[in-house]
């Protein structure tokens, strides 16, 4: 039993007990009643001796009872605490996990977050007067709910306002914040800059971490200001029965874009084997159901948090030594591959697990698919046959014109709205300035842009360097490329050289003005002095050339520069293109609520309120960016089994169960006892007075 405010006891007792005793010294204010004679009364009351102005204090049962009531009330005011298994901390930092896995409803009907908040409030209640506490909620990012404060009521309000998110758990930011605030507070204490009494030593803060232990970045958290021995981890939750979608992809068949292929990776995190149905919804209609059999999660999977196993196919599981047949059916991870279906529309594709488990955020996954679209390529060449034969092997719509035709084409044929009517325009030895925003590939020529020009021909140099990690050069062997001559290029600084010669780039990438330019300094074939066409490189005879062209078309037409990512994890920001001159964008969230936000410059829109999983719709939107999906896709978060220990800064900290001995306030018992004494006092008084 400890008292949080011993001063309050002294104050309350000091203020009430002496007056009570003084009242017993003092005479009562009595009702005046005349009697014929006080002779006999006087004799009768002689024993009681109540007729002196101040009587000698006699042992009175009533006095003792009233003193007991007062003392108990004073003790109750002193905030007595039971089970003080832990020290009454002076400076406390509460880190409360608000990630997706904290939304699991435990068997007692409370979610883990609710339980964490309850325990945190009890922790606040258990603080002694003058103790300071700070509250930080963390999911994918950390929020300081309350900086150091001694006002318990305000702290409790802040704790109550912590909301459940569906974000992954990252502790690093929270720890950094706590450390920063602690440093500031310590400096403040040294200089007397805060409200603490002068001379008070700044005790190191004790950190209370309320989590289920599934922390993604636990291995990257470093402790600088905190000693691991001052970190108390409270483990929350018991349930582990969860099956979740850890990855999903919806894409169109490259050969037959009208075919939609959807696959989802489903993992069983529970200790029981499960057979579940995964339903596929396209544009709100259930089109397919796949039954998936999942083995129980092996106990060896119960490694420390932060073990981020990649969502891999079943064959890659470490325990695949079993026969292939059973391994295929008895793994905790399985891929639900839905039958390819013909779907010409665009929109939201959803995979939903028909399962009743602890965590619902990972039971659904969304993907955004575009309408099927053939890449439209315009080839501007006098001698198109070489490129045409290579491009015709690809699933694209190819239109070939001569440079003269291109220059004479009406503007409305070249433009579609603000952009080029073609996904890619390829110029073979033709420089032009008719370049509406779009994607361009110049062979042996340069776009007529400011800062871009072609100089003299280079013949006696070799290719010295190339960026083999660039997507365009994927699966191509540049070292086998030999080029007879190329032009000296003069490019703006933002241009990137992909293949470099000794003194000038051979292949360069130049983004800008909503366009992308790929500039090849060499042409595939050149006309000699006699006007005969001669190969300038042997590359065209190599299979690498076709691969290179395929990469180029893919890279330039995927609009990586402007196209947003279509699926993000909760809490991650999204950047979307919006129609030009759009001022405000309305985002319809999965729960139906709408957010209206101003569009940023350059036709882009940033949105960060992605705490909840689901499909978010954007209006107005450019085609293909009408929606984006927020998916959990986080194995750490889906694995809801609480961990027994958290390793922070290289030190293993045991996670105590939620029944951790907290300071239980005992003032109720004191007050109850006081009431009992009060009742007794009343009974005694009445028995004495009424005759």
């Amino acid at each position: 039993m400890t008292f949080l405010s011993p001063m309050t006891i002294a104050l309350a007792a000091g203020l009430t007990v002496p007056p009570l005793i003084a009242l017993y010294f003092l005479k009562l204010k009595r009702v005046v009643r005349p009697v014929p004679s006080t002779l006999l009364w006087r004799r009768a009351i002689e024993d009681l001796r109540v007729n002196a102005p101040f009587q000698r204090l006699r042992s009175s049962l009533l006095l003792w009872l009233q003193l007991a009531v007062l003392v108990l009330a004073a003790l109750a005011l002193g905030q007595p605490m039971l089970e003080t298994a832990q020290k009454l901390e002076d400076t406390v930092i509460l880190l409360i996990d608000q990630s997706a896995s904290m939304g699991v409803t435990e068997p007692d009907g409370q979610t883990r977050l609710e339980k964490a908040k309850e325990l945190a409030v009890r922790q606040i209640d258990g603080m002694s007067d003058g103790s300071r506490a700070m509250v930080i909620a963390f999911g994918d990012r950390a929020t300081v709910q309350a900086s150091f404060d001694t006002d318990k009521a305000a702290l409790k309000r802040k704790i109550a306002s912590i909301e459940q998110t569906q974000a992954p758990t990252r502790l690093g930011e929270a720890v950094s914040l706590a450390e920063a605030y602690t440093q500031i507070s310590l400096m403040g204490a040294e200089t007397g800059g805060d409200d603490r009494p002068p001379g008070a030593t700044a005790a190191p803060a004790t950190v209370f971490l309320f989590t289920d232990g599934r922390i993604e970045d636990v291995t990257r958290v470093s402790l600088q200001a905190f000693d691991a021995s001052r970190i108390r981890v409270t483990r929350l939750g018991e349930r582990s029965d969860n099956v979740g979608i850890v990855a999903m992809d919806a894409r169109r068949n490259p050969e037959r874009p009208e075919l939609l292929e959807v696959a989802a990776t489903i993992e069983n995190f529970s200790g029981q084997p499960r057979t579940i149905d995964a339903a596929l919804y396209v544009a709100g209609r259930n089109v397919d159901i796949q039954s998936v059999t999942l083995a129980a999660a092996p106990h060896s999977a119960e490694t420390s948090a932060g073990d981020r196993r990649p969502a891999v196919a079943a064959e890659e599981r470490p325990d695949s030594a079993e026969p292939l047949e059973s391994a295929a059916t008895a793994q905790p991870v399985a891929v639900a591959a839905f039958a390819p279906m013909e779907y010409e529309g665009g929109g939201v594709v959803e995979v939903m697990l028909r399962v009743d488990d602890a965590l619902s955020a990972d039971d659904r996954a969304w993907a955004i698919v575009d309408e099927p679209r053939h890449v439209r390529v315009l080839l501007v060449s006098k001698h198109p046959w070489l490129l045409r034969s290579a491009l015709s092997a690809m699933p694209l719509t190819l239109l070939t014109v001569t440079p003269e035709v291109y220059e004479s084409m009406p503007e409305d044929r070249l433009r579609e709205g603000e952009r080029s009517a073609y996904d890619l325009v390829m110029f073979d030895r033709h420089s032009t300035s008719r370049l509406p925003p779009g994607n361009y590939f110049f062979w042996g020529s340069v776009p007529r842009l400011a800062g871009v020009s072609a100089g003299d021909a280079i013949r006696s140099e070799v290719i010295v360097n190339w960026d083999e990690t660039h997507p365009i050069l994927r699966h191509t062997a540049v070292e086998t490329l030999s080029v007879f001559e190329w032009q000296r290029l003069r490019l703006p600084p933002e241009a990137t050289a992909i293949i470099e010669g000794e003194s000038s780039p051979v292949l360069a990438y130049l983004p800008g003005g909503g366009s992308q330019f790929l500039i090849s300094a060499f042409a595939l074939a050149v006309e000699d002095d006699e006007g005969r066409l001669r190969f300038n490189t042997d590359w065209t005879a190599n299979v690498d050339f076709v691969v290179f062209l395929y990469n180029t078309v893919q890279y330039l037409t995927s609009n990586v520069g402007t196209r947003s990512r279509r699926s993000v994890t909760p809490g991650e920001a999204v950047t979307l293109p919006v129609p030009p001159r759009t001022e405000a964008v309305t985002v319809t969230r999965p729960d139906g609520s709408e957010d209206r936000a101003a569009a940023a410059e350059a036709g882009l829109f940033h949105y960060a309120r992605t705490q909840r999983v689901g499909a978010y719709r954007v209006t107005p939107a450019v085609p293909g960016a009408e929606a984006f999906a927020v998916n959990l896709f986080n194995r750490t978060e889906s694995n809801i089994r609480p961990t027994d220990a958290v390793t922070l800064g290289g030190e293993r900290i045991e996670a105590k169960a939620e029944s951790l001995a907290l300071n239980r306030p005992a003032w109720r018992y004191f007050l109850l006892a006081g009431l009992g004494f009060l009742l007794l006092e009343w009974i005694v008084y009445n028995r004495r007075v009424f005759v």
Partner: protein, 300 residues
Amino acid sequence: MVQTRTDRSGPLLSPDFLTKLDQLELVSRKIFAGKLRGERISKRRGESVEFADYRNYVVGDDLRFLDWNIFARLEKLFIKLFLQEEDLHVSVLLDVSKSMDWGQPHKGLYARRVAAAIAYIGLVNFDRVSLYTYANGLAGELAGVRGRRLMFKVIEFLSGAEYSGTSNLAATGKQFALRHPQPGIVLVISDFFEKGGYEEGLRYLLGRNYDLYVVQVLSPEEMEPSLVGDLKLTDVEDEDTAEVTVTRALLNRYKINLRAYCERLKDYCTRRGVSYLFTGTEVPFDQIVLSYFRQRGLVK
């Protein structure tokens, strides 16, 4: 307490009751000599018709009382002695201190009725009746009335008595004893709540060898107080206050004290040959007069 002061006045005696009283006469255990010849035999030889004794004639004796028959037979002169018939002095000392102005039935009224009844009996029997009221000392006096026709004076005197002051029996007894040397019946009617003690006053009265009767009158409120709570009790006589918290224990203590007080008074009286009579005002006063006084031998 207002309610206990109500009904303090009323007819002292009813005609029916007076008729009953007509039959009674006061009896003194001691036969006392009076100034006037009355209707009762005195121990003193006198001129009544009742023969008492003979004695030898001495010169100067009234010749009318010579027994001539004896002289004829014996030729000696004897004087016939007769019993003297004398009047009886009946004095009533009535307490009119403020404490008597109390109770339901009213103590003072009750006491005055008893006094009136005694006075009437005396008047009817041609006794010399004196009525005194007292508080700090003797307050009012109606001395030496005789004969039934003066009853109106008695009624007038008793009705006009005012309640005031504190009772002081010692001073009263001293004054009465000085002023009233003749023996006779003395009836003291009071509640005997004497802060200075009743003993000294009674001793003065006993010293004159009166045939003393003590009547203690108490109201029911005094015998069974109905007080509750924390009170400041004020004495109506001397404004003395006593602060009490009325509890069961205190009430019990009060009753025990009251009983002991009355017992002590009775004991004091009995030891000194004084007739003590205790009555509560709830007892019908005619019953007191017609039966209690008769039992005590005051009336017959």
